[in-house]
Symmetry: C2
Subunit: 256 residues, 2 copies
C-alpha cells in the first residue's frame, strides 16, 4: 500500500486532509480514487490505513480505518554529518541513508571540500534533499522522515556535537594503525534511545588539523573496515552496521 507523510496538523479526529504534491501523486501517478486505501504517517511516527473519501483538484480527504502498530525505526538515533562532496554524491547519501534508517543529516564545509555551497546554492540543495528524503522514507516504509539541517562549519559541528551521547569520525589514517579503537566496540556500548553523531570527511578525508580538533573535542576516530571507502560509501557502511548490530544480530523476535 502506498505511504504518504502528512503534517500532524492535517489530522482532525478520524479525517485527514492531504494537499500539495501528494494530491498529484495520489490522483495522477497512482490513479487512486474514492474507496481506495493508502497509509498515512504523521510526524510522531504513527501510521494508519486510510480510505479515500473525497477527491478534488487540490485536496484528497481520507478517513482513518486502522492505526498500525509498527516500528521500523532504528533504536539508535544516528545523525550523519557528511563533509560536502563533489557532484551529486550527497543525493546518494540522503537517499540510501534514509533507507538504512538515518535520523538526521548535517552537511558540513570541510577543509578538503572542493564544492562550496553558498547560501543560495544551499537553499536549492536542501529543497532537493528534502524531496529525496521524503520519497525514500515512503518507499522504505519509514515511520519518521529524517531531518536535513543547513550546512555548517566544522566549528559549528563541534558545538552541535554537545547534544550527542557518542560522537565519532571516520579517519582513514586509523585504518593503517594496527592498535586502534574498534568501531564494533563503540557500537556495542550504545544503548537504545541514544544519539550518535557519525562524521564522514569529503573526498580526501579530514585534514590533520580537523582530525586534531575533533579528537580534542572527544570525537573517537574509527575505521570502517580495512578497505578505503569512498566518502559516499562510508555513511552507508556505518548505518548498515548499526542496523545489523541492533536489528539483525540482537533480533529478539528471531529464531535462534
Amino acid at each position: 500500500m502506498q505511504r504518504y507523510f502528512v503534517s500532524s496538523s492535517r489530522f482532525k479526529d478520524n479525517n485527514i486532509t492531504i494537499t500539495g504534491d501528494d494530491v498529484h501523486h495520489i490522483t495522477r501517478v497512482m490513479r487512486y480514487n474514492v474507496g481506495d486505501k493508502i497509509i498515512c504517517n504523521n510526524e510522531e511516527g504513527k501510521a494508519a490505513i486510510c480510505r479515500i473519501s473525497q477527491v478534488t483538484s487540490d485536496e484528497v480527504q481520507v478517513i482513518i480505518e486502522t492505526w498500525l502498530n509498527e516500528n521500523v525505526e532504528l533504536p539508535i538515533n544516528v545523525t550523519i554529518a557528511q563533509g560536502i562532496p563533489k557532484g551529486d554524491k550527497f543525493d546518494l547519501v540522503v537517499q540510501k541513508g534514509t533507507e538504512l534508517g538515518a535520523h538526521a543529516f548535517i552537511p558540513f564545509q570541510a577543509d578538503r571540500s572542493i564544492a562550496i555551497w553558498d547560501k543560495k546554492k544551499a537553499e536549492k540543495k536542501l529543497q532537493r534533499f528534502e524531496k529525496i528524503i521524503k520519497e525514500a522514507s515512503e518507499q522504505s516504509h519509514r515511520n519518521k522522515v529524517p531531518v536535513i539541517k543547513s550546512p555548517v562549519s566544522v566549528k559549528d559541528l563541534i558545538e552541535e556535537s554537545k547534544n550527542y551521547h557518542v560522537k565519532l569520525f571516520a579517519y582513514e589514517e586509523e585504518a593503517k594503525v594496527s592498535k586502534h579503537q574498534s568501531f564494533g566496540n563503540i557500537i556495542n556500548r550504545l544503548d537504545p534511545g541514544q544519539d550518535i553523531l557519525v562524521c564522514i570527511g569529503p573526498e580526501g578525508g579530514f585534514s590533520p588539523k580537523e582530525a586534531g580538533l575533533l579528537k580534542e573535542n572527544n570525537f573517537s576516530p574509527v575505521r570502517l573496515g580495512p578497505r578505503i571507502l569512498r566518502t559516499e560509501t562510508a555513511a552507508l557502511y556505518a548505518l548498515a552496521s548499526i542496523s545489523y548490530h541492533f536489528e539483525e544480530m540482537r533480533c529478539s523476535e528471531c529464531q535462534q
Copy 2:
C-alpha cells in the same frame, strides 16, 4: 601511492612490465616518470612497492622494491547474485560492492527483471563492469579484484549454488513475519574461508515461484533490517554487515 593490478604473467624476477590502459594512466593521468613509485598487485593478492625504471609509449617497466605484507580482504568469500535491475543500478552495485569487499558478482535474469540483457548487451555491460571493478579495487586498496560472471538464469544460479557453504536470499516478505530466521545468526555461524552466496532480487523482489524454488534448494530467506531496501542498497547492506561482523566487531588487533 597509486595502485595497479597487473597480470601475474607480467612479473619476471624483480621486474614487471605494465601495458595497456594503465600506461596511459601512469604517464598521462598521474604524470609519473622514471624514479617514481607505485604499488603493483598480482592476481594472487600480493602487492609490492615498485620503482619505475623505464617508460616508452606503450610500456612502463618497474622494479620491485619491497613486497607488502597486507591483507584487506574479507575473511569470508561473499558472492553477490543480483537480479538484473533497471538503468545503471548494477554499476553502483559493482562499484560499492568492490569497495565493501565482495569476492564475485553474478547477474541473473529474474522473473521481475524489467531489463533484459541479450548476449550482445551483456558482453558490453560486462566490459563496463570489469572496468568499474578494477578502478574500485585500486581506489579501495583491495588485494584482489572481484570477478564478474556472465548473466545466468535462476535455474543456473541454483546449479552454481552447490559450490557454496551457505546460500541465502533477501526476501521482503520475511521482514513482515515476526518469527523469522535472523541474518545475524546465519552470519555468526560462518567460519573464515567459507563461501557465501547472497541473492538479491531485482526491483519488486523475487516472485513467489522463485522464492519457493530457492527455499527447496536450501537457500535461507532473510530480511536485511526491518525497512524495505531498494534492490541496489540490499547488496551493500549485506556486505557492510559481514565486514562489520568479521572485521570490526571481531577485530583481534583492536583495543578492547
